[in-house]
């Protein structure tokens, strides 16, 4: 059975990229959200197996959104996908409870490896 993913990214380009990369894999994108606020309500509706989360978004940023999802759903798997890839941000994401960090621009191998790792670790 495929694993349900929810993509949170304000860029439709990233959503399309992820859909193309994940086509034919064990992962199925069941929801895409362009803001943290949308993600909070959508999470309850689709209860995904994993969320890919951008950081820099209009309104609530990805770190705050991840924090709020994990507060309500401590078992949630969240994989940060961002270009803000440096120690401060990675440490904050880890302390919140994110399962990993994928650096933009990403390729198929990097993404699949990180997804696999996120499921192994939890």
């Amino acid at each position: 059975m495929s694993k349900k993913l929810m993509v949170v990214d304000d860029s439709r380009i990233v959503q399309i990229q992820l859909q193309k990369i994940l086509a034919g894999t064990d992962y199925e994108i069941v929801a895409c959200c362009q803001s943290g606020e949308d993600a909070l309500s959508m999470y309850d509706q689709v209860l995904p197996d994993l969320v890919t989360m951008d950081i820099l978004m209009p309104g609530m940023d990805g770190l705050e959104t991840a924090r709020m999802i994990l507060k309500k759903h401590p078992q949630a798997r969240i994989l940060m996908v961002s270009s803000l890839a440096y120690d401060d941000t990675i440490n904050e994401a880890t302390s919140i409870g994110a399962k990993g960090f994928v650096y933009k621009p990403f390729d198929k191998d990097q993404l699949l490896k990180s997804l696999e790792q996120a499921f192994v670790e939890s």
Binding site: I13, K20, L56, L84, A85
Partner: protein, 157 residues
Amino acid sequence: MNSLSQQQIIKIIDRVMKDITSQMNDDLRNTEDSISFSENVCSICTTFEGGYHATLALSVDTSLLVRLAQQVMQEENVPSEYLEDFAKEYFNVICGQIAANLFQAANISSRFQIPTFSTERYKVDENSVSQEVLNYTSNHNEGAQLIHQAPLEKSAE
């Protein structure tokens, strides 16, 4: 916290610009000549905050953006409504890598605002800032220009 000179920052920005574009399967080379843009130019702009204060703006021939978008999206036809999205994402990745490189080089922690997009070339405010301009040409002779504007006193600490 350490600091970087303006020239060191510009060197980082230049390297990131070329690296990210190269990862999207296109190449940019520096040019000292003045840029001759086509009629269709877009620009994207953001402001860095935190340990690094500067405005960074990219003007680029639209045809170059379209080609990069085709490669990233693996689509022959990129709908025009996606071009703004792509331009902002491209610049977002560049700025994120600049922030990461500043942190690695000198422990400078910075963030940047969500990039804004325009279908015109970036217009320089020549009054209150020091400015560096990086000009590029693609393999298809398209132009790109990065403008770095920093406060006069210091740009990173």
